[in-house]
Symmetry: C2
Subunit: 217 residues, 2 copies
C-alpha cells in the first residue's frame, strides 16, 4: 500500500509524462517540494516496482505504476463529479477537496460511487473518467476554433481551467454539456458569434474559443 506522499509523486509522474518527459525539476515544481526530495521518492517508488528509473536518465511508469496512477485519476474525477453534480459545488472549487478525497482507501467505495453517479464518462471539467478496468472511452472532439458557421456542438472540455476562464464561462451560462450553435466567425479577430440552446446569441473571443473542446451535437 502506498503512502499519501508516494501517491502524490506517482500521480505527478503520470501527469507529466502525458505531455513529454517527467523531469525531477517539473515533479518538484508540481508538488511544491525540492528536487532532492523527489529523487529520494523516485528511488523508493522504483524499489516498489512502480517506476523505471535510472539516475540522471529519467523516469517512466511500469505497468503496475500506471495502473495505480490511473486508479488515482479515476478517484479524483469521480469525486469531482460527485461534488459538482450532487453537492452543488462550483466546478472551479472542487480540485482541492478532490485532491484529499482521492487518497481514501476503499475499492468498494470507488465502485459504489461510480455506480451512484451513473458511471459518468467525463468529469465536470470534461476530462475522461477511467473505468474500473483503467480504460478510458475516448470521444472525437475538436477545438471550437475549428468549427464553421452552421455547426451545432456540445462543450466537451475546457483545456485550461484558470479561475478567470471558468468564471467567464460561468457568467455566460456555459459549462460542460452546454449546447452551442455557431452563427458567425469573424476572421479579423478570430472571435465567434454563438447561440446557446436557450437565450440570446453572444460573442466569444479567440482566446476563449481556443480553450473549448467540443463534440458534434
Amino acid at each position: 500500500m502506498l503512502t499519501r506522499a508516494e501517491e502524490d509523486h506517482l500521480k505527478a509522474v503520470h501527469r507529466l509524462l502525458e505531455d513529454g518527459i517527467a523531469s525531477t525539476n517539473a515533479i518538484a515544481e508540481r508538488l511544491s517540494t525540492k528536487t532532492s526530495s523527489v529523487t529520494v521518492m523516485l528511488q523508493k517508488l522504483t524499489e516498489k516496482g512502480l517506476l523505471n528509473y535510472q539516475p540522471y536518465k529519467g523516469v517512466t511508469l511500469t505497468r503496475e505504476g500506471r495502473e495505480q496512477a490511473v486508479a488515482l485519476v479515476r478517484k479524483h474525477r469521480l469525486w469531482e463529479t460527485f461534488l459538482v453534480e450532487q453537492l452543488g459545488f462550483g466546478w472551479d472549487e472542487v480540485h482541492e477537496v478532490a485532491e484529499q478525497l482521492e487518497h481514501i482507501q476503499s475499492p468498494k467505495l470507488v465502485d459504489k460511487l461510480d455506480d451512484f453517479l451513473g458511471n459518468p464518462a467525463f468529469d465536470p471539467h470534461g476530462d475522461p473518467i477511467p473505468g474500473k478496468d483503467g480504460k478510458v472511452r475516448l470521444r472525437q472532439t475538436k477545438r471550437l476554433e475549428m468549427c464553421g458557421p452552421g455547426e451545432s456542438v456540445r462543450i466537451a472540455a475546457v483545456s485550461e481551467t484558470t479561475d478567470g476562464l471558468l468564471r467567464l464561462l460561468d457568467s455566460r451560462g456555459l459549462r460542460i454539456g452546454s449546447y452551442l450553435h455557431v452563427q458567425d466567425v469573424h476572421v479579423f479577430d478570430g472571435s465567434m458569434d454563438v447561440k446557446p440552446k436557450t437565450g440570446a446569441p453572444f460573442n466569444l473571443s479567440k482566446t476563449v474559443i481556443h480553450h473549448l473542446q467540443v463534440e458534434p451535437a
Copy 2:
C-alpha cells in the same frame, strides 16, 4: 490546523470522557499505540489549547477541544449516513471508511453533505449527529427490554455494534428506523415475540433485546 494523529487522539479523549475518565492507558488501547506515545500527544494538544492536562492528574477537554472533537464526530456520522443511505453500504461495514473520510478538511463540504442528506438527526447506527453549531437533538428512547405487549416502537439505536449482532439483525430485516409491534413477552427466558411492519412475527432473544434502543412509533 490539526494533523491526523492529533485528531485521532482528540477524538479518543472525547469518546472516553463520555463514560468516565480518559486514562492514558485507555487512549493508547483505543488507538492501538503505546502509552508513551499518548503522553507526548497529550502534551502537544495541551500546548495547542485543546486539552487541560497535568502530568499524572488526568485530562479534560477545553471548550475549543470539545468543539473540534464534536466537529469530527459530526463528520464521521454524516459520512456513515451517506455511505449507507446513498451508496448502499451495509451499516456494519462503514466505520473504517468513515474513519478516513472524517479527516477531510473542508467546512463547506461537511455542510453541503449535511444538506444533501436532509440534515439527518441520526446516523445508521442510531447515534445522534451534531449540528453545525455542535448541538445534538436528543430523543427520549428506552430499551426494547422495557416494553410490554401491545407497544409499537421504532428502532432508534443499537448499543453494541458487534459484527455478530449486526448480521443477526440484518438477517431479520431489522435496522435503524424499522418499526416493531411487541406481541408477547416470555418471562421465563426474557425473549419477545415481535412483528415487523410487513412480514411474519418472530422471536428475539433477551440478549438481542437488551441492545436495542427504541422510541415510541
